[in-house]
C-alpha cells in the first residue's frame, strides 16, 4: 500500500503511448511527479491533457509503456486519489443534495444500501468545509452557480482525504471572481497534497505551482512554474504570427517571461 521511500514519485509514466482507434493521442510520454508537487499540465484542446489524466486514473490503458500511481497499476487506490472532472457534463436537475454529491466521492464497496453512515456524513461535512462551502450542504446541487458546483466537485474529491488530487480544467465556465476563489482554495489545501491540474489557461502559472508541463501529443516539461519557449513551440508552433493563435502565443510568451505569477493571458 504505502511507499517505503517517501521520495518515490507519486505518478510515474514511462514511454506511454496511447491512441483512439488509429489516431495517436499521446506519443512516448515520460513524466515523474514527486510527492507534494503542484504540477500544471497545459496544452491546446485535443492535445491529450485529459487523456493523460484518464490514463493516470486507470480509465484508459496505455497501448504501450507503463503507468504507475503510488507504485501500483492505476485504479488500485481510489481512496488515495481525488479527481475533479471537467465541469459541465452533469445532468441538469439531477435529484441530489450537495451533501449527497460529496458522498459520491467515497470509494465503492465499503458499504451498501440506501443510507449513509454518520462517519461518512461527517467526512462529507469536513470536505465541504475544506472547500469553503459548508453552508451549502443541504442545498439542491441543480440550483447552484457554476463556481459553487465546481467547489462541490472539489469537496467530492476531498472526502477521502486523498494524497493526490487530479483536476481537469477546474476553471472552465467560471467567472474571474470564482476563479480567484478556487485558486485560493487549491493553494490552501496544503503542501502535503500532490496536485496535478490540467488547464488550457496559460495564465495559470502561480507561486504555488512547482512544475508546468506542456502536452501536445508529446510532452515538454520545465523545472519551474514558468512556461518555456519550448512549450509554446510545442503548443502553438504550427501557427504563424499572423494567425490569432500565433499572436496569442506570443502574448502569452511575453507574459510568461515577465514572471511566474503573471496572469491574464487566457487564450
Amino acid at each position: 500500500m504505502s511507499n517505503p521511500d517517501t521520495h518515490a514519485p507519486v505518478i510515474a509514466l514511462d514511454k506511454v503511448v496511447f491512441g483512439f482507434d488509429d489516431e495517436p493521442v499521446l506519443d512516448h510520454i515520460s513524466l515523474n511527479i514527486p510527492p507534494g508537487a503542484f504540477t500544471v499540465i497545459v496544452g491546446p484542446n485535443g492535445g491529450g491533457k485529459t487523456t493523460l489524466l484518464h490514463l493516470i486514473l486507470g480509465l484508459y490503458r496505455p497501448d504501450s509503456g507503463r503507468v504507475r500511481v503510488f507504485g501500483d497499476r492505476p485504479g488500485q487506490h481510489p481512496d488515495r486519489i481525488g479527481y475533479v472532472p471537467q465541469h459541465g457534463n452533469l445532468a441538469p436537475g439531477f435529484p441530489a443534495t450537495v451533501e449527497q454529491v460529496v458522498l459520491m466521492g467515497l470509494p465503492h464497496g465499503r458499504r451498501h444500501g440506501p443510507g449513509f453512515h454518520p462517519d461518512e456524513r461527517d467526512a462529507a461535512r469536513q470536505a465541504l468545509t475544506r472547500a469553503g462551502i459548508s453552508e451549502l450542504a443541504d442545498r439542491s446541487f441543480g440550483v447552484l452557480s457554476g463556481g459553487q458546483r465546481q467547489r462541490v466537485l472539489i469537496a467530492r474529491a476531498l472526502i477521502t482525504e486523498p494524497e493526490l488530487l487530479l483536476l481537469d480544467e477546474p476553471f472552465s465556465n467560471i467567472d474571474p471572481y470564482g476563479r480567484a476563489c478556487i485558486h485560493e482554495t487549491l493553494d490552501d489545501l496544503g503542501s502535503g497534497l500532490t496536485r496535478v491540474m490540467v488547464s488550457h489557461d496559460l495564465g495559470i502559472t502561480r507561486q504555488a505551482v512547482s512544475q508546468v508541463v506542456a502536452v501536445n501529443r508529446v510532452l515538454v516539461s520545465g523545472l519551474g512554474p514558468a512556461i518555456t519557449e519550448e512549450m509554446l513551440a510545442l503548443m502553438y508552433g504550427q501557427h504563424g504570427a499572423d494567425c490569432p493563435m500565433g499572436q496569442a502565443a506570443q502574448v502569452a510568451h511575453q507574459q510568461a517571461a515577465v514572471g511566474p505569477d503573471s496572469r491574464g493571458a487566457d487564450q
Binding site: L57, G58, L59, G75, P78, I81, Y83, P85, N89, L90, A91, G93, F94, P95, A96, T97, Q100, V101, L103, M104, G105, L106, P107, H108, G109, R111, H112, G113, P114, F116, S140, R156
Partner: protein, 273 residues
C-alpha cells in the same frame, strides 16, 4: 353498480393489485431511466419486446416468460452495441427497435388462424390479469426493489457522473447492463397493464413529475411510484365511466394530469412575478 359492488369483483381486485405492483417497478426503474436519459433506449427495448410476443404466439408458448427472456436478450444486445459504438447509440436503437417490432409482426402473420388478442399486447388489459401474472409481477418487483436498495449508492453515483463513478471503483458497465435488464423486465411486466406502445408514458411521465418535487433519487423513485399509482387508479375509473380501453385511459389520464400540473405551475409563477 356501486363502487363497493365493483370492488367485490375479482377482476377489479386483480386490476388494483396489478396497478400497485406495476407502479412500484415503474417508479423505481422510470426514475433511473429519466435521470440516465435512457428514454429512447427504453422505447427500443419496449418495441423489441414485441418480437418476443410474436415468437411466443408463433410457437404457442406462454407469452410472459418467453417475452421476458427475449427482451432481456435484446436489452443485452443493445447494451453491448451501444457500449462499443457510443456515438451510434441513436441509430443502433432505431434499427433494433424497428427490427424487433417487424420480427414480432411477421411471426404473428405467419401464425395460422391467429387474429384476436394482438391488441392486448399493444394496449394492455389490466382487467384480465390472472393470479399467475400477479405472482410473476410481485417477483419482478421484489428483484427490482432489492437491487435498487442494495446498489442505491452505486446507482446514484453512476447516474450522476459515470466517468467519476468508474474512478471510485464502481462497476459502471455492470450497472449499465443491470439497469437495461431491469428496464426489459419492467417493460414485459407492464405489457399486461398498459401495453407495449404505452409503456414509455408510464416510465417517463411519473418521473418527470416527481423530479419537480424531489431533491433525492430515492425520493424521486417513491414519488414516481405514487404518481404512477395515481395515474393507474384514475385511468381505471375513467375507463369504467367512459367505457374506453384501460390502457389508453391510463395514459390519457396521466397526460392530462401532467399538462394540468405544468399549466398550474406556470400560471402560479406568472402570478408570483
Amino acid at each position: 353498480m356501486t363502487p363497493l359492488d365493483l370492488l367485490a369483483q375479482g377482476f377489479v381486485q386483480h386490476a388494483l393489485i396489478a396497478a400497485v405492483l406495476v407502479s412500484i417497478a415503474a417508479g423505481i426503474v422510470g426514475a433511473l431511466v429519466v435521470v440516465n436519459r435512457l428514454v429512447f433506449m427504453t422505447g427500443g427495448i419496449a418495441h423489441t419486446a414485441y418480437g418476443g410476443v410474436g415468437t411466443a404466439i408463433f410457437f404457442g408458448w406462454p407469452v410472459l416468460p418467453v417475452t421476458g427472456v427475449f427482451t432481456a436478450l435484446a436489452a443485452l444486445l443493445l447494451g453491448g452495441l451501444t457500449q462499443r459504438r457510443r456515438e451510434r447509440t441513436d441509430t443502433l436503437i432505431g434499427v433494433i427497435w424497428a427490427a424487433g417490432m417487424a420480427f414480432g409482426l411477421i411471426m404473428v402473420d405467419l401464425t395460422p388462424g391467429y387474429q384476436a388478442g394482438l391488441m392486448t399486447y399493444l394496449f394492455g388489459s389490466i382487467l384480465t390479469v390472472s393470479s399467475v401474472d400477479l405472482w410473476l409481477m410481485a417477483g419482478v418487483d421484489i428483484v427490482i426493489l432489492g437491487l435498487a436498495l442494495y446498489y442505491y449508492r452505486d446507482l446514484l453515483s453512476f447516474s450522476f457522473d459515470p466517468v467519476f463513478a468508474r474512478t471510485r471503483g464502481i462497476p459502471v458497465t455492470g450497472l449499465y447492463f443491470m439497469l437495461l435488464l431491469l428496464v426489459a423486465e419492467t417493460v414485459v411486466m407492464m405489457i399486461q397493464v398498459v401495453g407495449l406502445l404505452l409503456v414509455i408514458a408510464l416510465l417517463t411521465l411519473p418521473p418527470y413529475l416527481a423530479q419537480r418535487y424531489t431533491r433525492t433519487l430515492g425520493g424521486m423513485m417513491l414519488a414516481s411510484s405514487l404518481f404512477s399509482l395515481l395515474f393507474c387508479l384514475a385511468g381505471l375509473m375513467a375507463s369504467y365511466w367512459f367505457d374506453i380501453g384501460s390502457g389508453p385511459a391510463i395514459i390519457a389520464t396521466a397526460c392530462l394530469i401532467y399538462v394540468a400540473v405544468v399549466a398550474v405551475e406556470k400560471a402560479g409563477s406568472r402570478l408570483a412575478s
